[in-house]
Point group: D2
Chain length 355, copies 4
């Protein structure tokens, strides 16, 4: 079902940007697992808006209230539901947009799909705000994976044309702007600030690495780790591409260049390179799982744009007011971690059936 | 389930490269739909091996036998099952590989996953041969979509470092080497021949365009067209990346460059550019749906490689004999069409519930 | 997934009897459908506790708050979530039962399943209270079906050994005690009162009839209407059996007695009898769909019972205090309607894909 | 999907009574499990037609050919597919029935559902013949469960009005007519013979008991053992009812009579009685799981019946020729075991995720 993900766990995300609340239900988590609420709050804070110069000033505590599924600090085995209230709603900002879809947004497609009955306020169910619910589930899955020795980390790998440098091998979660090379990070921030001053926005890429995943996760054909992760990651608004290992660059290479030779080290089978991103035939091989995600620039810009009035069916110019991130990539970093953690935890549980 | 795809149709793929047969079951196709078996055979021929210099000489008629689901030339509403016998099996070629996994293949990961009980002959269930079953299902879905005015076409967009030129807007299915610019196609073929002579292999990319899809297909969050198509396309072995519209290139742009402005033409809402690849918020906007897929180079090369003996747990060199495509990209073109057609037809049926 | 139901809609039920709230998410309802909140409230009132002498005095307004999915009085196409707070919680009543499972309850099985981490208060997720969430979803589906001319009605067909009389052909929803023959209803009430006075409880059966369902709903083998309805109805606690049409009585008959002869009337194919309960091969034939459900007596009784202390692993007598229905059958009537409506609406949407 | 079952395994059944073959695909069985083909053949023989006086003389070897999934006598982890050819087809027997639906059969409902494109020969996909595929899957699951100490047995508990006597506690699979009391069995056979001589048919019930199932199998609400088993069992044609433990009889009792008191024995928690059929809250409690299934009499009888001509839309009498079981209950016994084994094995794998 559309707003649900998973076979062994099932995550369901509900809510609209300006409805009375959003939230998530996560089923299938085994009973008796401790959930550290403080750690979860810290994880959610990484996604929260209003923290710095390049994110929307809309301030929401975004504190989830757990209605069920956690008892005495532990999962009790039955569905975990958390809700987040939508407090800081300025719906009137959006009423002008009801008939004038924003280019690059789901406004027009939602209107067609739902025959005009869609909740058009602030993107409705398509709003980036829904990723708060994704992060509640993802934050829980990250903790569950950590108990199994599996870590999920992401970084900003590019902002617009500016690339981060260095190899990404450990958590950068303590950085407000998580890049390996802070000098490049400074350039990225300047780039965002410049575009923002022009009323424009910026895209970028996020790289994710999963450490400690045992060989044998994932399944053939349609449940390979690539399918599973892609399926979850495309659930984040603005994602337009994903590649595993060296991805598109592999298409330019010869087999002798791309194949990852194998060798023994410390009793484990390793590969000399990791072009495959830790996945062969959809199944992990014990090397780090790596992938990169492309985010388009935030479609909400204050520059003039061409739109069409859905009532009059005539061309009409559009100037977007309201509060918007000039670049959602920094806030997308924990979202990518969340999506990856959900996908990997689902595969992890799938694997337990076979053991 | 791992080897199944879809919510409104369900495709299940079964078989191993060297088992007595492979096949597919396709459920959920409404009754009374005519299936043109000759057209299907033509479609399957585009994927068949042994047709030219850059594909494996293994010759298989690959003619599906339909056991059920089609009655008097029409779908009868119940599961459609087709099987393809594996006739030209030289399993002995592979017995040497039982303990020596081929780099870049699923040999090692399958061994771990299935505790040594995997069918190691020719890649087993992970073999590219299984795409014959995918193409039977995809060929049927292509026909079903065509009845609704929706066309699915793919081309080779690059081979190694060589890019096709020109805009891809119509079917190239009559070409043995489906590129827009035949001059570039000639260079690609030469490139493949050179690498092959060296015992090496070549990767490439395939571009797909879906024409005639009405606005409103796809669903929010985890059932967007990107999720659906990615989920199906990563079911093709050797795929390592997918991007929609301009994909990764969008990450480098500003919003004012990337947003597709809207206008009216002939009573329809169109966009000036189509950077979004016809999908916004996971839902089609009526513009062509476009995406590009990265294929890694065929891992089977005759050059010496590093492997590890799974029994002795010692490093061991590997020289692969046997018959292998130096480049699977040409044969992957109909596979991408098949995967896309399956995904789009599933979304098409989902949409009917809402109307 | 365990607490979810459906393929074309998906209902997810969450919460525990004594957690901060319970609720439901219903996905897949097409956009633009009006939901009459007053009618829904009336439906929910039929299930609500504390209305009469044979139900628990625990009083809960049970008013659902809709967080999402309904906009301007209509479904907006995205997930509908409603929550109900658990206000009147006397958890201390249950703490004594933590180690002493109640016979006939899920206390012991939940303890084993969840390794002692289960929410033991008031039955947790297994509580009959969760049917409030089922009824929110079912009440919505009933309204959606009514728009399509399909009605779902249930009655009490027996209480303990006392059977209702008469043929059940129309809604009895206006009756507090919904039986065809009020004289029998009076005897049933007396029977409940007597058992209650003894500290005992009573079982019964509920009959359901679905009118106006077109021929062609349901699917072969595992998605027949029997499978679908049974799957939903066994989601109601205390259900131990279900039969369609004349059900178990058919097993005693000969084919010549049981077969429903066919004839034409008013341009429609009808059957002389309806022993099949309107379903053949899992698919509706246009006659009323009928089925009957067996409810065991409420396991919570004040009489002394044998239990086992889970900590000491020794036999121990049990006396249950607290507030309990002596007979849940009257309140189960709308629950059966809800389960049936959910199942039929799911099948109804499935059918739309084929048209 | 309609002809598929399961979440942790997935069984897909395909084929029509008179198509070129039928079969099944079973996914999700862990790798390395030995399958005893001789034992499977013996199990299938219990369902095979043509063995005695009360079953159809249509003779089919019904020997499955395994196309995939089993390698060197063991499951190899990927989909197991077996096909059975339809050899002894006398389709002409059925052509007369194309327009004249048989009362009690799916002929009419299939015609409506599939808009006249259904495979009407011999019941098509709705034929009892499809249970051969169910039994291939079920026979495999029975073996897999036996390795875990779980046994699944069924018996004939009644034929028409004649009930078996005695308690059912062990396998009767060596009996051609599996009842506890052979004297009653003899009466049942006579009863079948008499009805058959009259051109009539007979219904009956089958009781199933599952021994050795550990406490903790099954999940709350919609994935309880009752839901799971009912969902599988209603996949057998002619089933019209199911009850767990004492089922409908419980509805007549008081709680003090029905509740199963608990006690310790040999370090295990047991219940004094087993009215609940080993299931509380949908979850096994370690006692034997018991249920009973109602089969309607075979609808194909040679007595004159009322039907409607689908072309002329006029009433028309019907006399069925051809070969039919006067009573399918004896052959249904292994089918019930198969359905139960599939359901329990799926729940068994689900449980492994939680451990």
């Amino acid at each position: 079902m559309s707003s649900s993900y998973g076979e062994n766990i099932e995550l369901t995300i509900f809510g609209q940007s300006h409805s009375s609340g959003i939230g998530m239900t996560l089923q299938g988590v085994p009973a008796g697992k401790e959930i550290d609420m403080e750690e979860l709050a810290k994880f959610l804070a990484r996604r929260a808006p209003g923290r710095n110069e390049y994110s929307t000033p809309r301030k929401e505590p975004d504190e989830p209230e757990f209605l069920s599924g956690i008892f005495n600090g532990k999962t009790c085995g039955t569905p975990i539901t958390a809700i987040i209230r939508n407090k800081d709603r300025r719906s009137e900002d959006y009423s002008a947009l009801k008939d004038l879809p924003r280019p690059g947004h789901a406004d027009y497609t939602a209107n067609i799909k739902y025959f005009g009955a869609q909740d058009y306020r602030g993107g409705g169910h398509f709003s980036g705000r829904l990723t708060a619910a994704l992060c509640v589930a993802g934050g829980i899955c990250k903790q569950l994976l950590a108990k199994e020795g599996i870590e999920v980390h992401a970084r900003i790998s590019s902002i617009g044309p500016i690339r981060d440098r260095g190899e990404f091998v450990e958590s950068l979660e303590d950085k407000v702007f998580p890049v390996c090379d802070d000098e490049m990070g400074e350039k990225m921030r300047e780039y965002i600030a410049e575009r923002r001053a022009e009323g424009d926005s910026v895209g970028g890429t996020v790289e994710c690495v999963i450490l400690g995943a045992p060989a044998g996760l994932g399944d053939p054909i349609f449940d390979g780790m690539e399918n599973r992760i892609a399926n979850a990651v495309f659930g984040i608004p603005a994602v337009k591409g994903i590649e595993f290992g060296i991805g598109f660059a592999a298409a330019d290479l010869c087999g002798s260049e791309n194949n990852d030779g194998m060798y023994m080290e410390d009793g484990e089978i390793r590969t000399v390179t990791n072009h495959a991103g830790g996945i062969l035939g959809g199944i992990t091989n014990g090397m780090p799982v790596t992938f990169k995600v492309a985010f388009k620039p935030t479609p909400s810009i204050t520059k003039a744009q061409r739109s069409v009035n859905l009532t009059t069916k005539e061309d009409e110019g559009l100037m977007i007011a309201g509060r918007h991130d000039p670049c959602i990539v920094p806030r997308a970093v924990p979202c990518v971690e969340a999506a990856a953690a959900i996908a990997v935890y689902d595969a992890f549980l799938a694997r337990k059936r076979e053991l």
